[in-house]
């Protein structure tokens, strides 16, 4: 059975839920699971992943990886892929995943599938194209394949397991990208990723003032947050943090209402 490497991510100091969704995806795909956790001071997180479906977990623990670095991550993932002998490498389709996964695929000369939300026997990966207007089934050639998986597509793995951890040393000399800082966007950060209810408006509402006049009060009346489609944001009607859907925030509301928006409601929704 082929071996699958999961590339874990951390969020607020813990393994991100999307990583446990990769465990579920790997189980659906079928194969021996190994994982890699990348960062600085990440021993306990590697342990946690090993006990919840991560299999043998490589801990790439280095002060140079305290913050995300594209060169460092590419090196670490390739080292983990070599150590595990993985034929398939799974990333989450997050700001880290979409930054580094295709780079790793090119380095491994592997087939690459972006933002898969399902896998069928074959394997055949299913993803959205044309901003969600069509679905596509992608069949990778035999050999290595790198896949990014849409967060929220599968439920996170909740079982327990007896995995193990192993340190993974990587030569991190010569990193060219230099992390400076993380900051909030200049306007008030609107974190739609945590909103339970979102009322999202499209360009069809007609004018920028309809957002404060109609969408915002509706969202407020429902106890929710205001969102917007990409054309609205591109037109400068609202700052980018309000954007949901294609290349905006991946949101997981329990309820959503779209007003005058052409986008398919499930586009990029987790």
């Amino acid at each position: 059975m082929a071996s699958i490497l999961l590339v874990a991510e951390l969020q607020k100091g813990a393994i991100r839920e999307a990583t446990y969704e990769l465990v579920s995806f790997a189980k659906k795909l079928g194969g021996d699971v190994t994982s890699v956790v990348i960062g600085s001071g990440i021993a306990s997180q590697a342990e946690a992943l090993a006990k919840r479906g991560g299999g043998k977990v490589y801990a790439c623990d280095d002060a140079a990886l305290a913050n995300y670095n594209v060169d460092g991550w590419a090196k670490a993932v390739r080292a983990a892929a070599a150590a595990s002998g993985a034929e398939t490498v799974l990333f989450s389709n997050t700001p880290v995943g979409w930054d580094v996964a295709a780079r790793v695929a090119a380095g491994l000369d592997a087939a690459f599938v972006s933002d898969a939300f399902d896998v069928k026997p074959g394997p055949v990966f299913v993803r959205r194209i044309f901003n969600g207007k069509l679905d596509a089934e992608i069949a990778p050639a035999a050999g290595k394949v790198v896949v990014t998986v849409q967060p929220g597509a599968l439920a996170a793995f909740e079982g327990t397991d007896t995995g193990s951890t192993e340190p993974l040393a990587v030569d991190l000399s010569g990193l060219r990208a230099k992390f400076v800082e993380t900051k909030l966007a200049s306007s008030k950060g609107v974190d739609l990723t945590k909103a339970e209810i979102i009322v999202s408006g499209g360009r069809g509402v007609g004018a920028p003032e309809k957002f404060p006049e109609v969408i915002q009060p509706l969202a407020a009346a429902l106890g929710g947050a205001m969102g917007a489609s990409r054309p609205v944001v591109d037109a400068g009607w609202l700052p980018h943090e309000y954007q949901v859907g294609s290349s905006g925030q991946v949101v997981t509301p329990s309820s959503i209402s779209r007003a005058a928006s052409r986008a398919r409601s499930s586009t990029s929704w987790a």
Binding site: A110, L134, I138, A177, E181, I197, H240
Partner: protein, 261 residues
């Protein structure tokens, strides 16, 4: 500074999308094409660098059939200096890695200090080519760039993360930046620019001329589209009818009934 901008020509955002006979892609006959919106922001960013430093050269490159000439002429009309068009049926059916290989061969001839392109294309939505091209070129990259500040020997960029957070990163030249939409306000080609564009160089290249015979195209592709189709319809859609007040009353009733809020 020499800047390479990679453009993709994609079906117009309002184009009708019908699946072709063998289900492998959409029917391209009779639909309008345009420059991928993400790429227009990258082109604008390049032209702004040239505005600030007129010694800069902006080279635009694209891959595809004859229709792509129009996209390149538009870019030249906006202010790019010259264009490279890889036009060769042998590259049809390339996967993202094949496209990245072609662009890497073009980049090798151009020798850019920076490559600018969009984060993703409006048709395949894959975000695959920019990181692949950076890897093949052996240069660092950043994706989802919302701000790029040119320094003495590199760029300070802001990358978009989640929840309104931004990551600030320094990249030395040469590097590759893949831009998010809304990075800037894209200019229109002026009439004068469009007239001038007719005299600007537009080189047409084949895969063989780039040393890529047999390395790109459908036979070399490792990720193949098996079929495309409209997404399955969700079940239980219900259309509410009546005047505005009636529809609102019915909708509120539904929301309460289903316990959504």
């Amino acid at each position: 500074m020499k800047i390479l901008v990679c453009l993709k020509q994609v079906p117009h955002q309002d184009a009708r999308l019908d699946v072709n006979a063998d289900g492998s892609w959409i029917k391209e006959d009779g639909i309008k094409f345009e420059i991928n919106s993400y790429d227009t922001f990258a082109l604008e960013e390049a032209l702004r660098i040239k505005d600030a430093d007129p010694t800069s050269e902006v080279v635009v490159a694209s891959i595809g059939p004859e229709r792509v000439t129009q996209a390149l002429r538009t870019a030249l009309g906006m202010g790019a200096d010259r264009a490279v068009h890889v036009k060769d049926p042998a590259v049809d059916g390339s996967d993202a890695l094949g496209i990245a290989r072609i662009l890497a061969a073009v980049a090798k001839e151009v020798g850019p200090d920076v490559v600018l392109m969009g984060l993703m294309s409006e048709d395949s939505n894959a975000s695959a080519v920019p990181p692949m091209l950076a890897e093949l070129m052996g240069v660092p990259h950043a994706t989802a760039v919302v701000k790029a500040e040119k320094g003495a020997s590199g760029f300070r960029v802001e990358r978009e993360l989640e929840g309104g957070a931004l990551e600030v990163v320094d990249l030395p030249n040469p590097c590759l930046l893949a831009g998010q939409t809304g990075l800037n306000q894209v200019r229109y080609a002026s009439l004068k620019g469009i007239m001038a564009a007719k005299k600007k160089p537009l080189d047409v290249k084949t895969a063989e001329a780039l040393g890529l015979a047999g390395k790109v195209g459908a036979s070399a592709a490792k990720a193949k589209i098996r079929k495309i189709y409209p997404p399955p319809k969700g079940e239980g859609a219900e259309i509410l009818t009546g005047n505005a007040d009636e529809v609102v009353a019915k909708l509120v009733g539904k929301i309460k009934e289903l316990g959504l809020l």
